[in-house]
């Protein structure tokens, strides 16, 4: 099992009446709700928490990319990852990921990921999402029906840039480059492991299967609702005669909150879950899926619940969230049981643990993360014995890595006194 500690980086100061007064947390969110001075503390606390997760023994620390979004103030995950590459020691740096259709040219991603891999000593896990329609189409203006073609070309260019040892010309439809010759290149060979976040597109299933990439389903609605989607993936893995159905071919994001007892968990975390699920996820449905963004094949096979007409503002309660599986919360034993259901039920080897939720303060987040790391994680590690040692989907760091901040002490001291 690989557990990645994940922080979406939500803005923690959305007002109580946010939903009533605003149509969307994403794309056209009110500028006045962001306070740059307050963000100074928020960013630093969030980065501290990611670093803390490394000390707890999580296998990875995870960041992602969203734009113009009140629950994810991380338009450039690579900036955060660069900080983590320096300030963490062992955890994989899981960048899940860069929306590669948005970088012009996508060589930029090949370069920045290479830098992250080099700085971290080979700890990068690289994610290549197509990107949500909100980010890709509505914020970044990509033409929906051409997004996938552009994405596919960006992917081919990045992999070629990573693996080709001489300058080459790339005559793409969207990228015309005469001299591709990235410098630096990644430590990991032939290239860092690739994870592809997806939302149920058949094309994305196939893309992962064909390239031996891990498919990750990053939902907020929990493992019970994810069953059908991941079953679709595993069915596809079988249909396409993939050589194996290793659980590391898949990952899943799950909100997790741990306390000493179930009662304590509700008392400590309920308000923050409420903030996230009832406030942060308020997205105007017109931004959910620009026509042409999803393929016809996917719409024909896909779930349609997100297109039902809005039914007003429901309040998801603690009971709804925990019983519905959106959230796995409670005592270490409760969480262990439900995590076991998740892992076995979905057959996933990668868990992206959403341990920071909504406007959760640092102390509660640390408490929950520590309990998970100490009392839950060890008991889940042996759950998938058959695929122990499947390292195709995880990073391979250098044995000996640099220690940041280790300039010659003598000169450093001199500098201080000059």
């Amino acid at each position: 099992m690989k557990f990645t500690w994940f922080n979406l980086m939500p803005w923690p100061y959305l007002p109580d009446d946010f939903r009533e007064k605003n149509r969307s947390v994403w794309v056209d969110i009110d500028q006045n709700l962001f306070d740059p001075a307050k963000s100074h503390q928020v960013y630093n606390t969030y980065m501290d928490l990611l670093e803390y997760a490394d000390t707890l023994g999580f296998d990875g620390v995870g960041v992602n990319e969203h734009h113009q979004n009140g629950y994810g103030i991380m338009p450039s995950p690579n900036l955060i990852a660069a900080g983590l590459a320096r300030r963490t020691k062992n955890a994989a740096i899981v960048v899940l990921g860069n929306s590669i259709a948005l970088y012009n040219p996508p060589v930029r991603v090949a370069e920045e990921f290479a830098m992250l891999d080099c700085i971290s000593g080979g700890r990068l896990v690289a994610g290549f999402p197509v990107g949500t329609s909100m980010d890709t189409n509505y914020c970044y203006g990509q033409i929906p029906a051409l997004t996938r073609e552009k994405y596919a070309e960006a992917h081919d260019l990045i992999i070629k840039a990573w693996t080709t040892r001489e300058p080459f010309a790339f005559n793409g439809r969207y990228n015309k480059l005469r001299h591709v010759n990235i410098w630096p290149r990644p430590i990991q060979q032939p290239h860092p492991p690739v994870h592809i976040p997806g939302g149920g597109s058949v094309e994305t299933y196939d893309f992962c299967i064909d390239n031996t990439y891990s498919y990750s389903y990053l939902s907020f609605t929990g493992y019970i609702r994810a069953k059908a989607l991941l079953q679709g993936y595993w069915d596809r893995v079988a249909e396409r005669n993939a050589p194996d159905a290793s659980p590391y071919r898949a990952g899943f994001a799950q909100t997790i909150c741990v306390a000493e007892t179930d009662e304590e968990a509700e008392r400590l975390y309920s308000q923050h879950l409420n903030y996230f699920y009832n406030r942060c996820l308020h997205v105007y449905p017109g931004f959910a899926d620009a026509p042409g963004y999803r393929t016809i094949k996917t719409i024909q096979t896909g779930a349609l619940s997100q297109y039902a007409p809005p039914k007003g503002f429901g309040e998801l309660t603690w009971k709804d969230l925990t019983e519905g599986g959106h959230v796995i919360a409670g005592s270490p034993e409760t969480v262990r049981q439900r995590m076991e259901e998740l892992i076995k039920g979905l057959n996933v080897g990668h868990i992206f643990c959403l341990m920071h939720v909504g406007d959760m303060p640092a102390d509660k987040c640390m408490y929950s993360s520590r309990l998970f790391a100490e009392k839950v994680m060890p008991k889940l590690r042996g759950l998938l014995p058959a695929t122990e040692g499947d390292e195709r989907f995880w990073c391979h760091p250098l044995e000996t890595r640099a220690t940041p901040g280790s300039l010659p002490a003598e000169y450093a001291r001199k500098a201080e006194h000059v």
Binding site: V27, N137, Y138, G141, I143, P144, A145, L146, E149, R173, Y284, P285, G286, F287, A290, P291, G292, Y293, R294, I296, I299, Q300, L304, Y307, A308, P309
Partner: protein
């Protein structure tokens, strides 16, 4: 008037088109919302012309076309359709997105298009008058932008529509994804692809029509188009929105007919404005210096 549904093949795609009426040939290019054989504008045009109305690939229950990606592809594809229909210099009429394509065709091949009618065309962008983001509108928000009378318009749009029925929803979503997915290639996220710098090439006698209460592409775009096309006349139709083709089809057809009388109605040495045979106001745009 009944329209026959026929097919032809171009290099790029299988194309379905509707054909009906008699008279001089006229090619009608539909807007992003699509077209059906029952559309009143087709019947109105068919009273005077032999109408050919091709569906853009992805529309009219046809497959979308991956090899049509940009404005040039769309304009040349449509020119191929005209060629495939065996027509030479038909009256070219386009509504909204269709108007954008028609204007591009007339600018690309100015000697092939001598009569052009642009009905609330897309294709220009004025910073002071942004066009709403139609791609992010929910179906229930559309009538307010499309119709002079949103309530009546909503009834036109939602007849027998039940958004709760999953099967209906799927059909609707697939149609919408096909149609608007294709339209998005020239309209998303801003419906402008450089037409402004090519308008001067148009040699066609041109009439530009606008519904006075168009809230999708506001009527202020009318003078902007007229200013770019030498000798173009602007006809504004009252009590009509962007879907002027549904709300005032007879008036639209009459304004298109004025193309045939343009020389007598509007002496080229120009006396400013005039009135058309419709109730709409007709203004003559100042010629653009070349």
């Amino acid at each position: 008037m009944s329209f026959a549904s026929k097919n032809l093949a171009t290099r790029q795609a299988e194309v379905r088109y509707l054909e009906g009426g008699s008279g001089e040939p006229l090619v009608y290019l539909h807007g992003a919302g699509g077209m059906t054989a029952e559309d009143p504008i087709l019947a109105a045009l068919a009273e005077r012309w032999h109408v050919y109305a091709p569906f853009l690939p992805g529309y009219g229950e046809t497959e979308e076309c991956g090899s049509l990606r940009d404005m040039l592809d769309f304009a040349l594809h449509t020119a191929d359709v005209v060629e495939g229909l065996g027509l030479k210099d038909p009256v070219l009429v386009g509504h909204s997105m269709g108007g954008m394509i028609a204007a591009e065709m007339a600018a690309l091949a100015p000697n092939d298009v001598s009569r052009l009618a642009l009905i609330a065309p897309a294709g220009l962008w004025l910073d002071d008058h942004p066009i709403p983001d139609m791609f992010s509108l929910m179906p229930y928000e559309m009538p307010g932008y499309l119709f002079h009378d949103p309530e009546a318009g909503a009834k036109l749009m939602t007849a027998s529509l039940t958004l709760d029925d999953p099967e209906f929803l799927k059909t609707y979503l697939i149609r919408n994804a096909r149609q608007m997915g294709m339209a998005g290639k020239i309209l998303f996220p801003i419906p402008e692809r450089g037409l402004a710098q090519r308008l001067y090439r148009i040699k066609a006698r041109t009439v530009i029509l606008w519904g006075e209460s168009d809230r999708l592409i506001p009527p202020v775009y009318g003078p902007a188009f007229a200013a770019g096309i030498a000798g173009a006349r602007l006809v504004t139709i009252p009590e009509a929105g962007h879907m002027v083709i549904a709300e005032k089809p007879a008036e639209v057809a009459a304004a298109v007919a004025s193309l045939h009388q343009a020389l007598t109605l509007l002496p080229l040495d120009g006396e400013g404005g005039s009135r058309s045979e419709t109730d709409g106001v007709v203004r003559r745009a100042p010629p653009v210096p070349r």
